[in-house]
Amino acid sequence: MAVTIDPTQAPARGTAVVGGSDPKIDAHAKATGQTVYADDIHLPRMLVGRLLRAPHRHAKLLRVDVSRAAALPGVHGVLTGQDLPIRYGIMPVAQDEHALAVGTVRYHGEPVAAVAAIDEETADEALRLIDVEYEELRAVSSIADAMNPELPLIDGEGVGRQVNRRGTLEFGDVADGFGRADRSYEDLFFFEGNTHLPMEEHAAVAQWEPEPRGRLTLWSSTQVPHYLHRTLAKVLELAPGRIRVVATPVGGGFGGKSDPFSHEICAARLAMVTGRPVKFTLTREEVFYAHRGRHPVLMRVRTGFKEDGTLTAMAFRTMLDGGAFGSYGPASVYYTGALQTVTYDVPTYKFEGVRVLTNKPPCGPKRGHGTPQPRFALECHLDKVATDLGIDPIDLRLRNLIEPFSRSVNHLRVTTCGLRECVELVEAASGWRHKHGALPHGRGVGFAVGAYLCGAGLPIYFNDMPQSEVQIKVDRGGGVTVYSMAIDLGQGSDNMLASCVAEVLGLRPANIALITADTDLTPIDLGSYSSRVTFMAGNAAVQAAERMRDKLFAAVSADLGVPSEQLVARDGRIFDGDDPGVGMEWSAAVGVASVLEPPLVTAGSYKPPKLAGSYKGAGVGPSPSYSYTAAIVELDCDSETGVVDVDHVWIAHDIGKPINRVSAEGQVVGSVYMALGEALFEEQVFRRGYLKNPSMLEYRSPTFLEMPEVETFLVETDDPEGPFGAKEAGQGPLLPVIPAVANAIYDAVGVRIDEVPISPDKVVKALEQQAQGKEPRVGPKAMPDFDFGEPVRVDPPDQSPGREVMAL
């Protein structure tokens, strides 16, 4: 296939692939329907699996009788909680799930039993023949309910408050910080829960090779084949070496396929008990119950400022509605407090967070995991502070920006930071200075910034092993195969791996074959979450490729008598950089190296530097680098209907260096789309504790018509630790867009909606209050009382936080 490169997008700094816009290597297969997703797998004698889900929000499970279902012709296997008694959970400290409910059910939609039958109709019929007796318990439906000590405990016996996790941290003397302030501010915000809405419904296929080998293979649309592998070994009590997990191409994840799921475990167990392959594909409705999406979070922000706009103190309090299980909750709660400090120089900082359990589908990580909610609160809060201080909102931010190569008050190591450049780009492109506060009534602009991880510094279970390993094999015909457990969710990880290797070896991405996400065939990668794959798998791939290039250079050097330091790999040749005519074609070089440097197999690995502080909770927030984003939104707000029409978004993202420019811009634009959905439309609505909108019609995600013009700028800070200088692009760009919408609504019509989604009725209500001379605001009015306990007190870093210039 011919590869064409747009000359206007020519890569800089001598790279041949990186920074360019080669077509994604998987684009053609996806666009033409050739990609094999989990649900496309059909094996001989395969059975169809279905889950029976609880009809109650909270109930004791008195009896599950599957005898009638098991007797139905065509049914080959039936499971209940008794068959899978071992608890699991994605985090070692939150092993609170059963594949099928045991003892109690915690939310409407929780799996109670599973069947495998010859077809869907028979499986559905079997579900109807399962007799379950419940004793309903009072349900906990909100943060306020969870704080009610009279309600039955979801995770335990008796009644009480539903505290799942709590963390309280203080960095420096916050009271002193507020004491130094000329003015202090306090605001309350609420961010409603929402879900990922991936195009592909979760699916898994299991196959069992009977004893004596006794080997299980599970294909699944998962973001975390390694963690799924561990979970299967634990729950099924099988040695890990007898389990193979293959992550199939994922048709959208966004964090929603990052937990081990009931249907995966049930598929495996049913394959083992029936001796036949079993496939589960969730219905769209079931995907809403599987969930693991955005936590609803109630927040209080307090800040202290000098008259000139210098920040002296910040105190953040968050309450997260976790739904029915722990999931990623122990991390989620700290993420609501961790990253405020990597955009601004916060001299003193206090964070108090609590995650409660409720009888609702479990929450977990969604794009931005735990950080979009506090970012919404913080950036709206700063917009109000700027108004009060009479300072332009952009100037207020610029006055307090963190410096590159510094350490935050909570000990996070900040390296490259292009936030100032991002701000300047969107400010200039949008015409902010002549628009803000100056557009006609009903039209407004809003500004915000954000930051995100390039991979969590620590793995989910503590260990000192590399987070990612990559192998490369070159065959005698010159073919290059890369082996990595990273899984492509559409974010472009396959293309990233191929591009990094192609760049080093002087080939094109289209020349590189990939074997990915297979625990039998590929070396470790922890999974496609926390924006870690480009940074970590990318670095491992570069190292493996450099080792392969070294082998080839050594062989070519010996063959041609050119010192290997002088050799260059480029355009499918290896040649003398000083005399390009002297060299050989790639395939010839491989032939020589196969003789002189066998075997042509190399490996690389990546482990982030030790970054975490020593205090409890310090494991959440550290990352080898942070991406930065600034956004300006311009919109119309209809003051009669409250309908918001976003007209234009300018967004600048510090990506370090784009591995593939078009792909990176696609991640930014996709983040804008998802952010606008969360800002204006998407929410999980419950009526009496039951999800009211578990369908794509009623869960309103924006259409093409709601998508504005997006102008994207990539800021290249050339991160010293990222592969070719790259940082993440998949999550960070979502963060500033949501508060920028809220701030633009204020600029347009003068009302504050301190709660997302900003549905039109909230705008109308605030405008009515404005007309009546009341506070023109819709948002939470109070936070329930809760004892967050004494903070863990941590001294700020030795030198002035945010100002310490570090040598790497």
Binding site: R53, H108, G109, D124, E285, F681, S695, E706, S759, V764
Partner: protein, 328 residues
Amino acid sequence: VMRLPAFAYLPASTPAEAARLLADHPDAQAVGGGTDLYPKMKRRQLEPKVLVGLRGVRELRGIEAGAGLSVGAGTRLHELALASDVRARYPALARAASLVASPQIRNAGTVGGNLCIDTRCNYYDLPYDRRCAHGFCMKAGGDVCRLAPGGDRCWAVSSTDLAPVAHVLGASVRLVSVRGERTLPVAELYTMDDGMDYLQKQRDEVLTALDVPPADGLRATYVKFRRRGAVDFPLLGVAAAVRTDPDGICAEARLVLGAVATAPLPVPHAAELLVGLALTEETILAAAEAAMSATKPMDLLDLPLAYRRRMVQIHVARALRELVPNGR
């Protein structure tokens, strides 16, 4: 969603054959584009054992423009929206058709299907598992209204975009059965107080055409309010029509609201406030307020009740402003 339940599909090739099949099979239902029916069957809201297919009935498809307009019931919504005669002479009808759902659905969905579209409610329209948990409602499988369990009626809401416009245009439909053909004004096609049995059309009657009389100076418009610019059913539809004399005085005014009641809701007392007067901001707001006070939205669609009620006023006014004669 689940798979379609099993059913027999009997394709018809003429209206008479369709009527005969419906008469012969007491549990049969007609299907045109299927964009409303098939999703509802997948959700087990409707489970007809026999479907009489109208797709192949050629004479149901097409638009005839004479003094008035005759639209075959099998005409695709997309065709109605784009037909130049319709756009020129009945722009409100073209606009209403263009605002139904999404391009894909308008390419399959028919004029007859939209006129007969099932009533909606956010209990009745929940997915199957969700309704299993919550209890079924009287419209599908249960015996009470989940919204108003004390009452004895179903409150599900009319969601047709075409009917309010057809109503203000004075249109009628043709219905064919084994008993012959009859004509029914659109104004009489719907039942005002029963969300289950919401059509005056008999089960075995085939709706074959929509006939619109000559406009004769009547100018109409349609305003649709919904959350998103596509896909969504109306949270409110406002059809308005006026006939003004050369001085701009309304000789006649008609207002019909969609998605606020079980049937398209005429608000004649609001429209009559305009008769004998010019369309000024003052008369428009008076009519809009009267229209709002005639509506009692229920909590069975998106967004809070009070807000949806207020939107009636806003959008009736917007519709009427569109009808202010040019140059005023």
